[in-house]
């Protein structure tokens, strides 16, 4: 789905993703984890991809496999240097109100089974995340 990069639509993406996830064999806790991880990626797209004075969009794609759910959040915004992620240690003791890329990506990494971030300055950012189903869906 292609979503306007406005804050009110992050909740809409959450609804869509939880709808898909609930048709797979995930537990309630796993679905909550997926909702947070996807929201984090969308929040980053909304906050950092674009100059917020102009309307923009980003994409959320979900791929359902028998053994996992893969979600890709992609924007064609300004991108960032992924090298900063290697040294980033999100700190909550002196956090600025503007959340910062680090904590969101930390959550994605902690809550999902696999995740990766690709970004190119001037081109955009892609966040891919995977949650494996405990038992394969046969229906």
């Amino acid at each position: 789905m292609r979503v306007p990069s406005a804050t009110e639509f992050v909740g809409v993406v959450r609804l869509a993703v939880s709808g898909v996830a609930s048709r797979m064999n995930f537990s309630v806790e796993e679905i909550e984890d997926i909702k947070i991880a996807v929201s984090e990626a969308c929040t980053n797209a909304v906050q950092y991809a674009y100059d917020r004075s102009q309307p923009h969009t980003y994409e959320v794609n979900m791929r359902v496999y028998p053994d996992q759910l893969e979600i890709i959040v992609e924007d064609k915004g300004q991108g960032f240097d992924t090298k900063i992620l290697e040294t980033l240690t999100p700190r909550l003791d002196s956090i600025s109100e503007n959340q910062g890329l680090g904590l969101g990506l930390t959550f994605i990494k902690n809550l999902m089974d696999d995740s990766e971030v690709k970004s190119k300055i001037g081109t955009g950012t892609l966040v891919r995340m995977v949650k494996r189903v405990p038992a394969p869906v046969t229906a």
């Binding site: 804050t7 009110e8 992050v10 909550e32 929201s39 984090e40 909550l92 109100e97 959550f107």
Partner: protein, 119 residues
């Protein structure tokens, strides 16, 4: 059509901010506003934030709470957070916020009792 509601009340010993619904990038500003307003009513250096009816919270909500807790700490104030849902507690644990600038409680009664232990 905001899936979010926040209310404030003065308990005997502290202002209590209660949140209902989802805390995310869209609704965070409302939470910030409520926390800032409530801070003006702090009497015993404590503000209580009740998240019992929060259906969803992510790093934006945590960041808002952490930022406010930090501001409060510089004044010598604390935030007591009521959190009774395992999923919400998990988020606090993953972020480490539960161990730093805030104190977590399971019920509002517990939190308020620990502020003014009157006989």
């Amino acid at each position: 059509m905001l899936n979010f509601d926040v209310s404030q009340e003065m308990a005997e010993s502290a202002p209590v901010v209660r949140v209902n619904g989802e805390i995310d990038i869209h609704t965070c500003p409302n939470l910030t506003f409520a926390l800032e307003e409530a801070t003006g009513h702090v009497t015993q250096k404590i503000l209580v934030l009740n998240l019992e009816k929060v259906a969803y919270i992510d790093s934006t909500g945590l960041g808002t709470i952490a930022h406010h807790a930090h501001k409060m700490n510089t004044k010598g104030y604390s935030i007591y957070v009521i959190c009774n849902q395992p999923q919400v507690k998990k988020i606090f644990d993953v972020s480490g916020l539960g161990k730093k600038n805030i104190k977590l409680f399971v019920t509002e009664k517990e939190a308020l009792a620990s502020i003014s232990p009157r006989g």
